[in-house]
């Protein structure tokens, strides 16, 4: 329990307190470290391995993992180094995760904040629209778009981002509505603070917690969506690759070359695991009541 009579005078903000709680959560911190390592590896890794993305090793087709050959995770049916390809694939998967999440974040926060702040009829209309969007078979519309407009990476970013903003907008709207009724916002209005300042100083900082949590939970969903599309052959195309593509290739070869399935699957699963742990940890840290 905090009592104000304690000696220190510099306060601890909610953010810092949450960070302190998060640091005590070993699973979440381990996940964070692993994620950082993974990201760095995916960005820098391909230059560190002796092989290129599409470079064919004519001596090693479908070769199992071997330290001696320099194929630490084996090769695929075309003699390409699987570790190199997995790291490249990681770049794509992670970039989709970041960009699509950002797209969903921007649309969702703006849409939700506007609906919540305006309230009344505008809110009603905007949320009715979200309800309708919710009942759309979105996955299939995305696939439809892929079929019609070709499998361009930009389209993947946009399409997945456009699917995932719905939840975000609901969360932000709910927060904004609740905050708007809080007395500190009324007090600010009584002080004569302008609407814009109220949104910037009082509303947005207070929606931050749930938004951060939701973002960490959106990232794995997005990664999953992208690899789902790629797995079906509807995602990124050669020469680009992603974890979903590699898993799909591995599935075809699993009886003769199980490493081709296992290596990219492990990358994907590890990332998703860590992101989920981190998301759970953040939720506990930012909202200690839920524990």
């Amino acid at each position: 329990m905090h009592t104000a009579s304690e000696a220190h005078t510099v306060g601890e903000s909610l953010g810092r307190e949450a960070w302190r709680r998060l640091k005590q959560n070993r699973a979440a911190m381990t996940s964070l470290v692993i994620l950082i390592i993974l990201t760095v590896a995916c960005i820098a890794g391909p230059w560190l391995t002796p092989w290129g993305l599409s470079e064919v090793d004519w001596n090693a087709f479908t070769a199992p993992p071997s330290l001696a050959e320099g194929h630490y995770a084996g090769t695929d049916a075309n003699g390409r180094d699987l570790l190199t390809r997995s790291l490249y694939g990681g770049q794509i998967s992670l970039s989709v995760a970041v960009v699509a999440t950002l797209v969903s974040l921007v649309i969702g926060v703006l849409y939700g904040a506007i609906a919540g702040f305006m309230g009344g009829r505008v809110d009603n209309l905007m949320m009715r629209f979200v309800d309708i969007m919710y009942s759309l078979p979105f996955m299939f519309l995305v696939i439809l778009m892929m079929v019609l407009f070709g499998r361009h990476i930009l389209l993947i970013y946009a399409a997945i981002g456009a699917v995932e903003w719905l939840d975000m907008s609901r969360i932000v709207r709910g927060q904004t509505l609740a905050l708007k009724r809080r007395e500190f916002v009324e007090a600010a209005r009584a002080l004569g603070v302008t609407n814009r300042t109220i949104i910037v100083r009082h509303l947005i900082p207070n929606t931050l917690g749930p938004v951060i949590v939701y973002v960490t939970l959106t990232v794995p969903k997005v990664i999953l969506l992208e690899s789902f599309l790629s797995f079906l052959g509807l995602g990124v195309q050669e020469p680009m690759t992603s974890w979903g593509v590699l898993i799909s290739e591995g599935t075809d070869m699993m009886e003769t070359a199980p490493w081709m399935l296992i290596v990219p699957s492990a990358f994907l699963a590890l990332t998703l695991f860590c992101l989920n742990f981190l998301g759970d940890g953040l939720r506990d840290a930012l909202d200690p009541r839920t524990r």
Binding site: I132, S135, L136, P137, M139, F140, L141, I143, L144, M145, M146, V147, L148, F149, G150, P220, L224, S227, F228, F231, L232, G233, L234, G244, I247, S248, G250, T251, M254, E255, P258, L261, S265, L268, A269, L272, F273, N276, F277
Partner: protein, 308 residues
């Protein structure tokens, strides 16, 4: 009650109309026509083809024709499977997909609910950690990874079960795909049930029930179970949508002749009418499932009144 159902069905119309309209116009915005195939067709034949698919009409007219046909349950011909209409293909695939999906959702509930309840009642015990850890794995490992691994282990190495095929829905063929399809939902349902059970067990009316002198078993069954189920019930809509989406890959992996598989094939072959028909069909299905879920929910929660 009937009034409520009718109203909800009415509300579903704009949703469906949006699905149809969006997919229709997306299709016509797309670069390249459906017959821009590998080989060049003679101009005359192409014109004939276009006319027979009404593609020579102005777009708004095509839209109205399509809508009119849809109303009669006619999704148009398939561009690729020349001898079949889209309606026939969906009619063939749907019973298979439905059976698969039904079993998957039943399995998800039958396993997920008890796991969540046990974890909640034994909070912070080793059972709880085991269940929640496994659930997290179920969420983190996508079904298109689990499914081939299961096929590898049970189908290839152990050779207990067939690796694929449908065989008219023989249980041996169904077991692996149903399990693969339900794992993720089991995980979600278990986590959700645990969280809501813990919340309900901490609520005031549970304390009242204990103060009445009820045994712990009575408290849980009579007073905690129903309120704890409510969030899970409202999750059933998204769960069904998740299973439908999942069935697309699962049918692909196990070679099951459901609509999911047709859909992927059609998408890869740019079979516009089939893709679009499937999207519209799924849209209607999801709307219908959401309605059913809402009805179940309102039956469980007396505060939801039909008149609103």
């Amino acid at each position: 009650m009937l009034h409520y159902i009718a109203k909800r069905l009415l509300q579903a119309i704009p949703t469906l109309l949006i699905v149809i309209t969006v997919s229709f116009f997306l299709m016509h915005l797309a670069p390249g026509g459906p017959f821009d195939g590998e080989r060049q067709l003679p101009a005359e034949i192409e014109a004939n083809l276009l006319a027979s698919y009404n593609l020579d009409q102005p777009i708004w007219k095509q839209y109205l024709i399509y809508l009119g046909n849809l109303l009669q349950g006619d999704f148009g011909p398939s561009f690729r499977y020349e001898d079949f209409s889209v309606t026939e293909l969906i009619g063939q695939g749907f019973p298979v997909s439905l059976e698969l999906g039904m079993w998957a959702i039943l399995l998800a509930l039958a396993v997920g609910l008890p796991l969540g309840i046990i974890a909640a009642l034994r909070r912070n015990s080793s059972i709880d950690y085991l269940v929640m850890g496994t659930a997290l794995a179920g969420i983190a490992i996508p079904n298109f990874v689990i499914a081939p691994l299961m096929a590898l282990v049970f189908g290839v190495f152990l050779a207990w079960l067939p690796v694929g095929g449908w065989n008219d829905g023989h249980w041996r063929n169904m077991l692996l795909p149903v399990v693969a399809l339900s794992i993720q939902q089991i995980a979600y349902i278990a986590r959700m049930m645990r969280a809501s059970m813990i919340e309900v067990l901490g609520s005031q009316h549970i304390r009242t029930a204990r103060a009445k002198g009820l045994s712990e078993r009575e408290v849980i069954w009579r007073h905690a179970m129903r309120p704890a189920m409510l969030p899970v019930v409202s999750y059933l809509g998204p769960a069904a949508a998740g299973i439908i989406t999942g069935s697309v890959v699962i049918e692909q992996i196990f070679g099951i002749p459901g609509i999911g598989r047709y859909f992927v094939q059609a998408a890869l072959n740019r079979d516009y009418t089939l893709v679009m028909g499937t999207v519209v069909f799924y849209g209607a299905l999801i709307v219908l499932l959401n309605l059913i879920v809402d009805l179940i929910y309102s039956a469980l929660d007396p505060q939801i009144r039909y008149d609103d």
